[in-house]
């Protein structure tokens, strides 16, 4: 199953439509062998999906990039870490996951509620998970990562 293309399309469409921001892919997706302990950026959003396949989408970026992104989403400058930043980031992730799920053919996903975390994270990805990390970029703002973690069937 190809999850990479739907994920990239969902990210680009969501940031374009909801935030007015052009995001682009920065290179090839990396399939990371699991189990694996990964280091993510200061802002991390995770949303679970269940259905015929189960997994998560994660988006990780530097805090300053996240503030600009959510600021563009709500059309207000965000200068500090607050509830609006966290809620806005989660909502963006929710929209991305919805768009992703609609693009994956043959699987009907149910979405969980998103979780957003701030700080330096180390996340353990267990064995049996297909872990795809896609480097992406907001030109002029900075890099971010879109990650897909799906149970291998």
């Amino acid at each position: 199953m190809n999850y990479e293309t739907p994920c990239v399309e969902a990210v680009i469409e969501t940031f374009g439509a909801m935030c007015g921001i052009a995001a682009e892919r920065q290179g090839s997706a990396e399939i990371i062998p699991t189990p694996k302990m990964i280091q993510t950026d200061e802002m991390l959003g995770i949303i679970g999906m269940t259905g015929a396949s189960k997994g998560d989408i994660m988006i990780s970026m530097k805090m300053e990039v996240a503030k600009k992104l959510v600021g563009a989403f709500i059309m207000e400058e965000i200068s500090e870490i607050n509830d609006e930043l966290m809620d806005g980031f989660g909502e963006i992730l929710n929209i991305i996951a919805g768009a992703f799920a609609a693009k994956v053919e043959g699987i009907k996903f149910q979405l969980a509620l998103p979780t957003v975390m701030v700080g330096q994270h180390q996340t353990h990805v267990r064995e049996g998970i297909k872990f795809v990390s896609i480097p992406m970029l907001f030109p002029g703002w900075g890099e971010f990562k879109a990650m897909i973690l799906m149970e291998e069937t």
Binding site: E84, D87, E91, A97, G98, A99, A102, L113
Partner: protein, 120 residues
């Protein structure tokens, strides 16, 4: 014109409130889930021009909220707001009395096109 926004995301409610303001609608109330929405609606005797209701919410989701509203009134316009993954659920909502639906991600002009007819 009085509108009720039902969404667990305060950010999404804020965005929608701003877009409604651009349409000249400033009498906007908010609820974070279906239970809160029903309380607000009952407090105003269901005297609203539109309910804009998210699908994926804790406590009481969009379909449950729509069902609860339709058990009281068939006249109140309800537009369901959803991510595309729930589109089949939205079609079910339409069959159960939703007046229209709005799919996220949406551009501003799409929001306006879907909502404006209920405010004129």
């Amino acid at each position: 014109m009085r509108v009720l926004l039902v969404d667990d995301s305060t950010t999404m409610r804020k965005i929608q409130r701003r877009l409604l303001s651009g349409l000249g609608c400033n009498d906007v109330l908010e609820a974070g889930n279906g239970k809160e929405a029903m309380t607000v609606l009952e407090n105003f005797d269901f005297e609203f021009d539109l309910v804009l209701c998210d699908m994926n919410m804790p406590e009481m989701n969009g379909i449950e909220t729509l069902t609860a509203i339709r058990a009281v009134t068939k006249k109140l316009p309800v537009v369901m707001c959803t991510s595309v993954a729930e589109k089949s659920a939205v079609m079910e909502a339409i069959r159960n009395g939703a007046n229209n639906y709005l799919v996220k991600p949406f551009a501003q002009d799409v929001f306006i096109a879907k909502i404006k007819p209920f405010l004129s």
